[in-house]
């Protein structure tokens, strides 16, 4: 899952925009954005944050520095060191797909931060906050809490490839006040583009995605 390979595959699958959301880190975001820029694909810097309740949250940004601000906050609240023989090596790469470093933090672990605080911080940094794979039991908002807390400032809910659009609309009818998005959550090249969201946007930016999720000014999520 190196920058050039990912960009090439995304373009081959007909995608206009992707987001890179590593667990609790965005140190590779700039390299992917660079590769995207070179290849003609919009790459949004992002992160999949693990809350203390072990809920996964997707954060998307337009600007690299906003994503880095979230990373700083997450790093200050993320204990532990990676165990490479169990979880694998966490490499930092450059735009040319070369390894330039290793991340020693336990990125697979949970932060000390409650979900609502993470959502709030993402919002204050101008990012988009989406609850990950709510249709799955593990590490999801619904899986961990059984409900969506009143007043939580989420921009959307993600449905994984495992659940069809139709099934999701039925099962998550109580949460229809939120927009649903679909993504591949690709951890391997072959999964890129397996699932995606079709947006109506003016530009490929995180701000436009946020407007679409909130059905503002003509931007929207297109039905599949």
């Amino acid at each position: 899952m190196r920058p050039r390979a990912v960009v090439k595959q995304a373009l081959a699958m007909g995608l206009d925009m992707i987001a890179i959301c590593d667990h609790n880190s965005a140190e590779n975001a700039a390299s992917f954005m660079g590769a995207g820029s070179e290849g003609g694909l919009t790459v949004l810097p992002g992160m999949e944050v693990t809350s203390k309740e072990e809920i996964h949250l997707i954060a998307l940004f337009s600007k690299h520095e906003d994503c880095m601000a979230l990373q700083d906050f997450i790093y200050r609240n993320l204990p532990g060191e990676n165990v490479e023989n169990v979880f694998g090596r966490q490499t930092k790469v450059n735009e040319k797909d070369e390894t330039i470093g290793i991340n020693r933090k336990m990125l697979i672990g949970a932060t000390l931060l409650p979900i609502e605080q993470i959502v709030s911080v993402v919002g204050s940094l101008g990012g988009v906050a989406i609850a990950s794979h709510i249709d799955r039991q593990a590490f999801s908002l619904l899986g961990q809490l059984g409900f969506i807390p009143e007043g939580i400032a989420l921009d959307g809910l993600e449905i994984s490839p495992r659940t069809s659009e139709e099934e999701a609309r039925g099962r998550f009818h109580p949460y229809r006040r939120f927009s649903f998005v679909r993504s591949s959550d690709a951890h391997y090249l072959r999964d890129i583009g397996k699932s995606f969201t079709h947006f109506l946007l003016d530009k490929t930016t995180a701000e436009e995605v946020k407007m679409a999720l909130h059905r503002q000014e003509g931007r929207k999520v297109m039905e599949q």
């Binding site: 203390k52 309740e53 532990g80 169990v86 949970a110």
Partner: protein, 116 residues
């Protein structure tokens, strides 16, 4: 006490790691948050949980736990069983709910660790 003893005493179903049940159990730990087990689990502990996804195997491997018991009649996911067999981590299942199972394990002498 070994996992094999627990299987016999509690009629646990063996879901994975059938050949690793002679592991001596050093104590018990109960949590459904993986980060919590990572922080407090001890080598040789038997982990009581309702989590059935594959990541439980990684945690058990990392902390060198003697095995995992799923409660409430839960069964591990197919991928979880696969990983458990690969890593040699026993996974057992009990029809009892967590609170009840732990109470009985405690009475049998499987104790928890004192707080850090």
């Amino acid at each position: 006490m070994t996992l094999s003893d627990l299987v016999k005493s509690f009629g646990l179903t063996i879901e994975a790691g059938r050949d690793r049940l002679r592991e001596e159990v050093t104590g018990g730990y109960a949590s459904d948050l993986l980060s919590d087990v990572i922080a407090h689990g001890r080598k040789g502990n038997v982990w009581i949980t309702i989590q059935t996804h594959p990541n439980i195997v990684a945690v058990a491997t990392m902390k060198e736990l003697s095995g995992i018991v799923l409660t409430g009649g839960r069964q591990p996911e197919a991928e979880t069983v696969q990983k458990a067999e690969q890593e040699g981590i026993p996974i057992l299942s009990s029809p009892l709910f967590t609170f009840e199972l732990i109470g009985r394990l405690y009475q049998m002498g499987i104790l928890g660790m004192s707080p850090c």
